[in-house]
Every structure is written in C-alpha cells, then in structure tokens.
Subunit: 162 residues, 4 copies
C-alpha cells in the first residue's frame, strides 16, 4: 500500500519568488525531491496547508490529526516546519495502528547545500523499514520518538531528551 504524504509547509517548502523578491511556498517541492531521489515507492500526496510551523495553530493540528485518521494508509509522512514539529507530533500520538514520521528542513530545498533531500530520504528509510506504529521525527539523520526529542533552537538541531 502507498505511503500517505501530507504537506503542511515549513522551511523545506520555500523557494525564491524573483518577481516579488521574497521567499514563498513552492507547492511542487516534494515532487521535485522525490524525482531527484529517484524514488519509486508508491505515494499519495496531499497538501493540507502551506504554513510556517510557527503559524500552525490548533485548527491546523486538528486538520492534520483528522487527515491521519481518515487515510487508509498505515504509513504516513508529514512535511512540517521544524519550530513546532514536536508539538504536532504530540498531538498525533493518540493515533493507533499507524506509523507516522514527521520531517522538514533547516534550509529550503531550493537552496544549495540544503538538508531537505537527506531528511526526506531519512523519513522514507524509516517508513520503509520495520518501524513500529507510533509517531516519530526524522531529522539530523536520526529517528526520534515523539516524546523523546526537542529542537535546540540555538544549534538548529534536534536532540534526544534522554
């Protein structure tokens, strides 16, 4: 069965609008990354919203939560901004019978030297392996359980709590 991918926005999705002269969301970022990764895994992609994660509110989290419940897929990948990725993961932790992995990026895919492609790979590798049901973050080359991770905002890295 296909992996369900939900797009919510975040840094990973930003590109440069050369007419406006500012960062905007690129709805095609995931498609470009899966293509660059030569990914052949079957995926269903749905864009739930395109927001910075600091702007993701309770209503948005409810939409993400309901979407995870509604999809028939047992494996779910969520692209999300890093600043509140842990909060959204906590909200999803009540869901049973599904393996949910959240990822994002510190630098937009559109930039040279971005971590985005690596992170998407990390998430796909975790979902393609034998990860038990539950909610996880895939960042910095690691798989963190949702309740044992925080973002060190000074270093720009995710770390285990214990």
């Amino acid at each position: 069965m296909a992996i369900q991918i939900f797009i919510t926005g975040g840094t990973i999705a930003k590109c440069y609008d050369e007419i406006k002269g500012e960062l905007v969301f690129d709805a095609e970022h995931l498609t470009k990354m899966l293509s660059e990764g030569r990914a052949t895994v079957s995926v269903d992609i749905e864009t739930l919203m395109l927001k910075d994660s600091l702007d993701i509110d309770d209503v948005d989290r409810e939409i993400i939560y309901q979407s995870c419940i509604s999809t028939e897929a047992e494996k779910i990948l969520i692209l999300h901004g890093t600043d509140t990725m842990v909060e959204t993961a906590a909200k999803l932790s009540e869901i049973r019978g599904k393996t949910i992995v959240l990822t994002g990026a510190m630098v937009p895919f559109a930039f040279k030297g971005s971590d985005a492609l690596f992170n998407i790979g990390t998430a796909m590798g975790a979902l393609g392996g034998a990860l038990a049901e539950g909610v996880y973050l895939a960042m910095n080359g690691q798989i963190f359980i949702y309740n044992n991770v925080y973002k060190d905002k000074e270093r720009g890295e995710f770390c285990a709590l214990s």
Copy 2:
C-alpha cells in the same frame, strides 16, 4: 553505539578532476554529505577501497565481509556502486547479529540533481529505525531485503523480485 560506515567507492563517490579532465574518486564525499544533511548521528567511517562496483572482486568482497564481522558496531552502512551491490549484499548475508544496509547512487553527489544525499538519508533512516538484523539495500526510497531485489539496468532502478 556508533553506526559503522564502510566506503567502497562507486558512482556516489565520484567527482570531477578539473586538471585531469575526468571523473575520479573523492575520498571526502561521505563527510560532505553528512555535513549537508546536518547529521548528528555518531558514526565511525572507514574507507575499505575506492572502486567502481564492476571492479569489486572476490578479494574485495572478502575484505568487506571481514570488516563487517570485525567491527563491534551492530549497525553498518556500506557505500557501494550499484552494478554489483546485490552480489556484495548476498556475500554478507551469512553474517548474524548485525543490521547491514548498502546504498550508493545513480549520479555522483558532485552533480547537480544527484540522488546521493537522498539515498544516504534513506539508509540512515532505515538504520535509525527498528530494522531487524539482516542485509538490506536502500535505493529509490525503498528498503529491499538482499535476496528480493535486482537492478533493472535499462531503467536504472532497483526493483523487488516478488
């Protein structure tokens, strides 16, 4: 415990020597990729050889095999050319008590649009998850068991046998 990474060469490791005007091996390719991926996972890196996988012979495979046995690490990542990745994986399949993931790339990391960073991420995600002991390939966003995969050389993709 750290993940043991063995470098053997392959397409992923190639860069352009602008004086010679040809592709050569870049011993620093993995370090660059882990840096670009902002990977914080603890790794031990050892370069066993720098060869195209079509040049990997029985002697080389024995070196890879013995290295996997000798390392204390239980999680092992092997960077390897794609053409004979499946053969090397088969050789390693007798090893017990370790989780071994092989990956590589269709296009060198040094090229724009390379799949290398994605594939390293996929392998790290598989190793960071709950993959059982055994030998796997991480390519095309998927985790293949060593005896259920082949490289479709016309399409340049890895596919499951069944």
Copy 3:
C-alpha cells in the same frame, strides 16, 4: 591595475540563516562567486553597505559616488540590488575617466538555479573588454548604457528604452 569592486548588498548577496529562519546578507558572496568562476583577475573588494536596493537612499548613493571617485581604479564593478540599480547608475553618470559596471541578480547566489554567477561573469567580461568610460548595467546577458535601460518589474528583466 586591479578592478575595484564595491559591494552594496541586493538580492545577489542573500543567504539563508538556518537558525533565524530568514534571508540575511552573506558578506562572503562575492568571494565565493569569484572562486567558483575560477577568476584570476586582480580585484580590490570593498563592502560599502549591505542593503536591499529599495533601502538605498541618497546618503548611500553619495557614499557609492564618492567611493567611485576616490578609488584609483579606472574599472569599477558595483554589486547592487536590481530595483534601484538604474537610479544609482544615473547618480554615477557624472563621473569622468572611469568605466563603471553595475550588476546584481534576480535570485540570490545561494539558491540553485541563480543567475548571479552569470551576471558577475557578464560584468567581468564587459570590464575586461574595451568598454569606453561611462556607466553601464550588466544584466540578462546584455550591457546596457545607464540612460537607456529600465527594469520591467513584471517580467523581472532589464530592457533597453530604445
């Protein structure tokens, strides 16, 4: 004699601050570009300011003007945001005995697919050739005289007036 390069900021100079999560000025952008271009031409580099060109005011233009007059160099390259590049060029047009070329970019050098490296090359090629004294813009692969060019902001291109 060396080419004098004055940095004033603009889109070309932006990079992504992954801690702050926003575009900031990268003081090293020109050095990186000259290195990527394998430029061997002798240059003196001075950063006059790091500003979006919409924020370049009369005081800034006076600084740029005086700097062009003060330098002993007869060939001057100015990196400048595109939105008011034409205004700054007009201000410099009274200067005699110097060849001044302004360039910038529609997309920061830090982005994949940026025009920055091409534009710096265009400016260097114009200065390396036999351009007469005067003030010029090097954008879109063309050399425009300062009083025969405007920026078409809808198309994001510089065009000749006549």
Copy 4:
C-alpha cells in the same frame, strides 16, 4: 543583430548518463545556461560538433572556420574544450570584420560549483561591450587576445603570455 553561437563540445557540455554510468555530451547545456542566466540577448545557436577539444582536428577546425565566415552575424561565441582552445582561436585569427569569443569550462555545467555559467557570462559581457573585431578567449574572468594566452595545464588556468 543576433549573436551567433557555435557549439563544438568540450568539458562544459558534459553530463552524467546514469544508465551508462559515464560522462556524455548534453546537447542542451547551452540552452540551460542561457535560461539560468535569464539571458534575453538574441542568439542563433548551431551545434557544429560535440567533441573533446583534444579530438578537434584540422577538419573540425575548417568547419568552425567556414561557419564563422558563413554566418551573417558579426558577433560570434564559440563553446570549445579548453585544451586546444588556443589552437582553434589561432586558426580563426585570419577572419576579418567579426568579433569572435571562445569560452568553455574547467568543470562541466552539470556539476555543482562549475565555472561554466560564469564563463558564458564573461563571453556575453565581452560581446555585449565594445570589443573590437578579432579573436578572444573569455576564461577566468578575463578577456585574452588569441595570440597572448596559453593554458597552464598544471594550474588549470589561462594566463597571458606577456
């Protein structure tokens, strides 16, 4: 009038064939570069051959020579491998009434960190300026007259003879 561009091959034109696993010529390299440079200058593009410059022989040089004479354009840009760029330039030096600029790259455009885009820009800037008739090389950010330049093959740079 449009600039005539003749493609002859060289390092600049190479890309990676991921099925064959080797460098091959990419006939679209120039189009991609002009697009990335947001070039709006009018050009006529003709591919004369796709060869390493070490393989450019007298017959090829005659073709290039005749093509430069035949075109109505007065401004000509030739993309050429660096190893024998100087030889081809010498062959073209008898041509009168035209401004001919040769360029190429040390690293293919397909690689990260390539000098290709910069060099094309340099050539366009030289042609867009007031360069007198004659034959020139645009490399390393400089404009060299055909008979005052050599390639330092150890350093991978073009240098003036005097």
